[in-house]
Subunit: 347 residues, 2 copies
């Protein structure tokens, strides 16, 4: 049987309260007492029962992170960053996969695990405009992304419009004029797809290039497969793009694959830029030019804001909105890389 505080107290010849004080780092304890308690803890191999503490304090030391799926590299890398940032603060992360399904996103918010976690970092996809009220929950929440009502809750978000504009401008500066977009969600305004498309349109407009509807490739889910499919459709419909702005890297890599399977050269025939800066893009062939949206900054900021909420009383919490810095990483899918360093090893 696992030892309890009582056992430790008995062995150390003190009260349970003293053991509790030692365990929780209460400062006013005589050194000799503390030493005796610590010795007893060691002797009994005592471990605090977290469940009991939770029941008593209402805190668990666990925060939830809700993402669409870990199979999407961006979210896997985001989860990695959040776990590390939380670990620094002594928090553990419970990951909820919503599969982008509205029903599961609602479940996360309804707080089925409310008693299990102290707060939630939420990256919604299915919820959107019109769902603002759902976010008025009575536990700490930080939203990643821009879909939700601005004033009621903390947001940490990318500079979607500005970054997308910069990405498009990068392509324009290379002389491209028929720039396709992969991953469009028709009619969407407030989500990542809508905002990034807006940035694209801004850039074209500023350059005096008309928007050609045929260059807008839809893709609901942002996977490699859907990127490849959208690219295939664009090519088969005769859109004749000389560049592609994929709204995330996974789709960009799918598009890159599709282009090359069809014998098109990247970047000579078609330049490709993505969005997210996942590690995978550094090693594709050619490597992928992309927007680095500041993932680590987003993760650490989200954890920080969540902790602030957890510590303050709900009434006195002022919702914040933080934008992460972004940058363009120029790589081989838009700029021709230097030729091979040395001749081929084989004849």
């Amino acid at each position: 049987m696992a030892a309890t505080m009582h056992d430790v107290a008995r062995l150390a010849g003190v009260s349970i309260k003293t053991v509790s004080n030692v365990v929780n780092g209460y400062p006013y304890i005589r050194e000799t007492t503390r030493a005796r308690v610590l010795a007893a803890i060691d002797e009994l191999d005592y471990q605090l029962n977290v469940a009991a503490r939770n029941l008593r304090t209402g805190r668990t030391g666990i925060i939830a992170l809700a993402v669409p799926e870990l199979s999407l590299p961006y979210f896997a890398e985001l989860a990695d960053s959040v776990i590390e940032a939380a670990d620094v603060q002594g928090l553990t992360v419970l990951i909820e996969q919503t599969g982008s399904r509205r029903e599961r996103e609602l479940e996360v918010l309804s707080g089925a695990r409310r008693h299990l976690t102290d707060g939630l970092i939420f990256s919604p996809l299915a919820l959107g405009a019109g769902d603002e009220d759902l976010l008025r929950v009575d536990f700490p929440v930080v939203v990643l992304g821009e879909r939700m009502f601005p004033d009621s809750v903390d947001h940490v978000t990318m500079q979607n419009v500005e970054a997308a504009r910069a990405a498009t401008e990068h392509l324009i500066a290379l002389g491209r004029r028929r720039i396709a977009v992969v991953g469009v969600h028709p009619g969407e305004v407030v989500g990542s797809a809508g905002l990034r498309l807006a940035g694209y349109q801004e850039a074209l407009e500023a350059a005096g290039i008309p928007v050609d509807e045929r260059l807008l490739g839809e893709a609901g889910l942002w996977h490699r497969a859907t990127g490849a499919e959208a690219m295939a459709r664009l090519l088969e419909d005769g859109a004749e793009p000389d560049a592609v702005f994929a709204l995330n890297d996974a789709m960009a890599l799918g598009a890159l694959h599709e282009l090359q399977v069809r014998g098109l050269r990247v970047p000579q025939d078609v330049a490709v830029i993505g969005f997210d800066a996942i590690d995978e893009g550094s090693y594709s062939n050619p490597s992928l030019t992309t927007v680095d949206p500041g993932r680590e900054q987003i993760a650490s900021t989200a954890v920080r804001l969540l902790i602030e909420q957890m510590r303050s009383r709900p009434a006195e919490h002022v919702p914040q909105r933080v934008y992460a810095d972004f940058s363009i990483l120029e790589r081989g899918s838009t700029v021709v890389e230097a030729p091979a360093v040395r001749p081929r090893v084989h004849a």
Copy 2:
């Protein structure tokens, strides 16, 4: 304030025990009673306090999954599969990233979160031969992989030797003779690196090809970057490989990248095969031939074994060892793909 069972009981005019019975699906309840309780639960928006249940039952409904890092796509996809498999069983997954650090792997086993989780699915990297005793813990554990002492604990593992042998044989069947390995851990016997290398050696031996030490490329961590580096070293040291067996896909993709940067054609000059069947390999250029080690099967089996342990008394539990099925996925990095389906869109 959140409602408790007491509140529900009072509103429904029953005892708290009856509410508990309803919540837990106890069958012998009069229908009218059950209906009244359910109505009260609905009315009060009651949600079970998991912490209290945990304290009472000692169960949390959470299982831990310890992996090196989610940034490695194989582990991200594995985590995805485990979460889904656990969800089906009503379990939630807490992910621990060990970063392949021995110290953190020990922490996981020492059970700092023992009271928080009902069991552990553990994918060790740093621990290995000689650490068998560490696994004799008093909570349910399922180990993924082969590093540990066979008899004491449940294992779910890939057929590392056989699959690696099949991968190598695939290359040999293509007429390759100078087959490099990327990701070797010198001296290791019992881990994935050692076993897969053994499979490689078996295949060479069976084909009468001598093992050339210069073709064995070391890489401690199995990342894209280390794969690229190992590949670069092999090429620069004049090993002159005509094929590469990377011990996982991430390294294979790094190697693929490195080869192409250096102007080598894949598969014509050098064929490449990986191990893991991560989604990324379907979309690389060329797409990656790889070993599919049965990830989903591994995940669901691990969850099943863990649940069996959780339900049985430790004494009566017979440790099992399950091998997942594997298969070779032939793709463009070893077999020349069909030429472009249609001519280039651009002149």
